[in-house]
């Protein structure tokens, strides 16, 4: 297929299918929510978090019809744990189904809470606002989510990469790991920057890959004064080397 036709196919396909899937979600999700919480008596935040996971899973399956996406091996994650993923593109949060836990409590900045519909559901799902809350409030919300059997998920760069390389990591998830003892599970994503870099609207053909790394336990840094910084360094170094390897393989 000529390159420009392929671009039209990919862009029309992904945008239209994800928009239609989102509209379907807007219509059916209130009924699903009521059914799960009223009839099946599921916990409300957990129900919302699982519904968001399925929305992400559906979106990424639709995207996989137009670009090359391979799901990583779905091993068993320690539960609970803190998943940290690199952030290259707008589509990364849709790839939440790259990891097997469905009850995911995401930590996000303030602005996504203002997106119509999305923001409302994120609040109902008790997602953590890491921009306006202080560490005590974040810790309290994280502990509550863990009590509700949720796995925490962070994009520690705090924003999408401007050049496809890993940005500096913020300390939030690492403070949390040090204070709660929860292991960090790195999730490495590649290819999404090539698919849709920050500031662009045109989707390009790409090979999207993910890899779930072994958990990193914070207890090894307990004795250090700034153990969170050492933990952060170890996690970042591990992810950088994995991403390099993944890029070479593709």
């Amino acid at each position: 297929m000529p390159a420009f036709l392929k671009l039209i196919w990919i862009n029309a396909g992904i945008y239209l299918s994800v928009i239609l899937w989102t509209l379907t979600g807007v219509i059916i999700s209130p009924f699903c929510y009521l059914f799960f919480t009223r009839t099946l008596k599921w916990e409300k935040p957990e129900t919302l978090r699982k519904m968001i996971w399925y929305y992400g899973w559906g979106s990424s399956k639709l995207m996989a019809l137009f670009v090359d996406i391979k799901w990583p091996k779905q091993g068993k994650l320690p539960s609970p744990c803190i998943i940290v993923a690199n952030h290259e593109s707008f589509f990364d949060p849709y790839l939440v189904s790259f990891q097997p836990q469905r009850n995911i409590c995401m930590a996000v900045r303030n602005w996504p809470f203002k997106i119509p519909f999305y923001g409302f559901y994120m609040k109902l799902a008790n997602y953590i606002n890491v921009e306006t809350d202080d560490l005590d409030a974040i810790l309290k919300q994280a502990k509550l989510a863990v009590e509700q059997n949720a796995t925490l998920m962070f994009f520690p760069e705090g924003t999408r990469s401007r050049n496809g390389k890993l940005n500096r990591f913020h300390s939030g998830p690492f403070h949390l790991a040090m204070q709660t003892g929860l292991p960090i599970v790195p999730l490495c994503l590649t290819g999404t920057y090539g698919m849709l870099p920050r500031g662009h609207m045109l989707i390009h053909p790409a090979k999207i890959r993910g890899r779930i790394l072994d958990p990193i336990f914070p207890q090894q840094f307990n004795e250090l004064q700034n153990g969170h910084i050492e933990l952060r360094r170890l996690v970042k170094t591990t992810m950088v080397s994995c991403i390099q390897k993944m890029n070479q393989e593709t």
Binding site: R109, N110, V130, E131, D133, D134, L135, I138, G158, R168, H170, S171, G172, H175, N226, I229
Partner: protein, 84 residues
């Protein structure tokens, strides 16, 4: 502890936390434009400074108005004086 020593401790703590070079940490440096630190970093900054100096700053309105490193030095020096 002298003011110069406090300033040195502030700069060292920030350099380590935010992976900055000590040479970048001049008083006129603007956090957002010169040091590329944003509101998310402010959360980390509060934790680091509270741990380093044993002071409470998270609910201090004056902290929210700080935009340069020099402002932060003055803020911490004042806090230390108040605590003394």
């Amino acid at each position: 502890m002298t003011d110069a020593e406090i300033i040195e401790r502030i700069n060292s703590a920030l350099a380590e936390e935010f992976e900055l070079e000590l040479g970048e940490l001049v008083p006129e440096a603007i956090f957002k434009d010169d040091l590329d630190l944003d509101s998310l970093d402010a959360v980390d900054m509060v934790i680091v400074l509270e741990q380093e100096f044993g002071i409470k700053i998270k609910k201090d309105e004056a902290f929210k108005a700080i935009s340069t490193l020099g402002d932060l030095h003055k803020f911490i020096l004042t806090k230390k004086d108040e605590a003394a």
